[in-house]
């Protein structure tokens, strides 16, 4: 299946018709929208990292932005967090414009970047306290709030140890505490489980889930682990080359692919009369009966281009940074 033959463009709309909620995707300024991006573009020099991205994250959901390295996930996140400059009226967070109301947007955000970003030369508690200070937590409730944030991620016992003694999973949880101390309405996590062992990965997700359950906050997460998205995200957007190619709940996306495969198999059976094509129809039948995984959906959506161009389509930002380091 070639890139052009994939009904990727139609897919986004088709998903919407299947799910009543998705029809509101195109409407903007909706108060139920935590994040909205309309035709967001961002380029590093000649490289288009985000190319006409339309994104709508509903209040209270865990939305997963999925895609391979270089799909533009991190750049999109950095546009939403006001780290990268965007034109007005393109990106909105709870109705606040990321270009015109930066401070208002930042106050609503808890952000955990891709790198393990806690300061190793301070204790866990000091790391969280810094963020309580810069989010204007008043002194009288600062200690209590910091203690609660640490407790929520199960770091109370390790709070007064230097962060350099923490494991990768503990640092990620510490960063969660840093993000949570300001009571954000939107938690933005960029590859939260990258480089972690499986136990740490599920622990990080358990904590994200527990916090979400208790606070009702919206979570926007990027990942390239399809299994995680399948397990933990309410809705996912499959991102490739700077835009979303398919959107829906993991179940919807898988079901849709299964339907399509079944239709293809039927097609093949109808047209096939000789023994040879009956055989292919048989295999098509078998394929359409097994429920495809999210990874299958992804392959279907982006087509064969994924493997072929994997070599040239690298993480734009890391490439750029490496280039700038080398001079």
């Amino acid at each position: 299946m070639t890139d052009g033959a994939v009904p990727a463009g139609d897919d986004g709309d088709a998903t919407g018709t299947g799910d009543a909620g998705s029809t509101s995707d195109s409407s903007s300024g909706d108060s139920a929208e935590a994040v909205s991006c309309r035709a967001l573009d961002y380029s590093f020099g000649d490289t288009k990292a985000v190319d006409g991205l339309d994104l709508s994250v509903r209040t209270g959901e865990i939305f997963g932005l999925l895609g391979p390295n270089g799909a533009g996930k991190t750049t999109a996140i950095r546009c939403i967090t006001t780290l990268l400059p965007v034109p007005p009226d393109i990106v909105k967070v709870f109705g606040h414009d990321a270009a015109k109301e930066k401070m208002a947007v930042r106050r609503l955000l808890g952000y955990v970047p891709q790198q393990l970003s806690a300061d190793a030369a301070m204790t866990g508690r000091e790391n969280v306290t810094l963020f309580a200070r810069v989010f204007d937590v008043p002194r009288r409730e600062r200690a209590a709030r910091v203690a609660q944030a640490l407790d929520v991620v199960d770091l109370s016992d390790a709070a007064d140890r230097m962060a350099q003694t923490y494991s990768g999973g503990m640092i990620r949880r510490l960063e969660l505490a840093q993000a949570l101390v300001s009571a954000p309405r939107l938690l933005m996590l960029d590859e939260p489980t990258i480089g972690l062992d499986p136990i740490a990965r599920s622990s990080v997700w358990e904590h994200i889930n527990a916090v979400r359950r208790a606070t009702g906050m919206t979570v926007l997460v990027t990942t390239h682990y399809m299994d995680e998205a399948e397990q933990y995200c309410d809705r996912v957007g499959l991102m490739h080359r700077g835009r979303i190619h398919a959107l829906g709940t993991p179940g919807e996306l898988r079901e849709e692919l299964r339907e399509r495969r079944r239709a293809e198999a039927d097609e093949a059976r109808k047209s096939g009369t000789t023994g040879e094509s009956a055989e292919t129809a048989e295999s098509g039948e078998a394929r359409s009966d097994t429920v495809p995984t999210l990874e299958d959906v992804f392959r279907d959506v982006v087509g064969q281009g994924l493997e072929e161009e994997g070599g040239t389509y690298r993480d734009v930002r890391s490439t750029r940074r490496t280039a700038s380091r080398l001079g």
């Binding site: 967090t81 006001t82 780290l83 990268l84 400059p85 401070m103 930042r106 106050r107 955000l109 952000y111 955990v112 970047p113 891709q114 790198q115 393990l116 970003s117 806690a118 300061d119 030369a121 301070m122 204790t123 000091e126 810094l130 963020f131 200070r133 810069v134 989010f135 204007d136 937590v137 008043p138 409730e141 209590a144 709030r145 609660q148 944030a149 407790d151 929520v152 199960d154 230097m162 840093q178 949570l180 101390v181 300001s182 009571a183 954000p184 309405r185 599920s202 622990s203 997700w205 358990e206 889930n209 527990a210 359950r213 208790a214 606070t215 397990q231 933990y232 700038s324 380091r325 001079g327």
Partner: protein, 286 residues
Amino acid sequence: MSGAPAGRRPDSAETVDPARFELLLVPPRPRTGLRVLPSRVIAMCVVELQKLRHDRTELYTRAVQPALWLLIFGETFTHLRAIPTGGIPYIDFLAPGIIAQSAMFISIFYGIMIIWERDAGILTKLLVTPTPRAALISGKAFASGVKALIQALVVILIAAALGVGLTWNPLKLLGVVVVVILGSAFFSCLSITIAGIVLTRDRLMGIGQAITMPLFFASNALYPVAIMPGWLQVVSRINPLSYQVDALRGLLLGTSSHLLLDFGVLIFAAALGITAASSLLGRLAR
């Protein structure tokens, strides 16, 4: 909590005691306007002090060089009487210069820390907090001032131990504190500005090495401006370090100085540095 199998639906799995989250449900009331600045400056200074409390190695190792300058260079030239100091022992003349120098050496490499924080994601995260860039840079500038001040204190103690006749007038010492912090604010912002231009640690390291000694030699830290060749006098006149040393000398030793001009230049330089560094911070964040 962490051991339980994953539940995708929010209503499933274990319930969480709401009291554990109580405070985390209410966003703090935002500070507005000019009240943001002092709060961010304090936050950054606290971070610096906490780090120094955890690891004082740098404080000690950085005391070695100024101690050697005072002990060897200072003592030797005091005996030689080769440099006209206006009637005071050369080591007395030298001490304020070395205080300013050690403070500058700390600040001039502060940009390396900014680049490191950028690479580690720490800066990125701070930039997503409700902190205007100028406030963040001011915070960093004064944090470097606090670090330099503690270093200056160590040098002052060494100088006092070597018999330099320093003032103990609290008002003048307060002036010393302000001078050291302002000077460091300028040099750290100069460093962050260069960081914003060159973007890499290695280049900044090279530039830092290249400019520290010229800044030091082209100032009145080691010898009076009057005995410099004409061109060096010009450089010395535009070098904020000269004004810092002049002010320190006036305050600590009571020699004749131009305190008003010195403070004016240092405040202007610090403000200029903060402006330049803030406007280039975006390049580092990108």
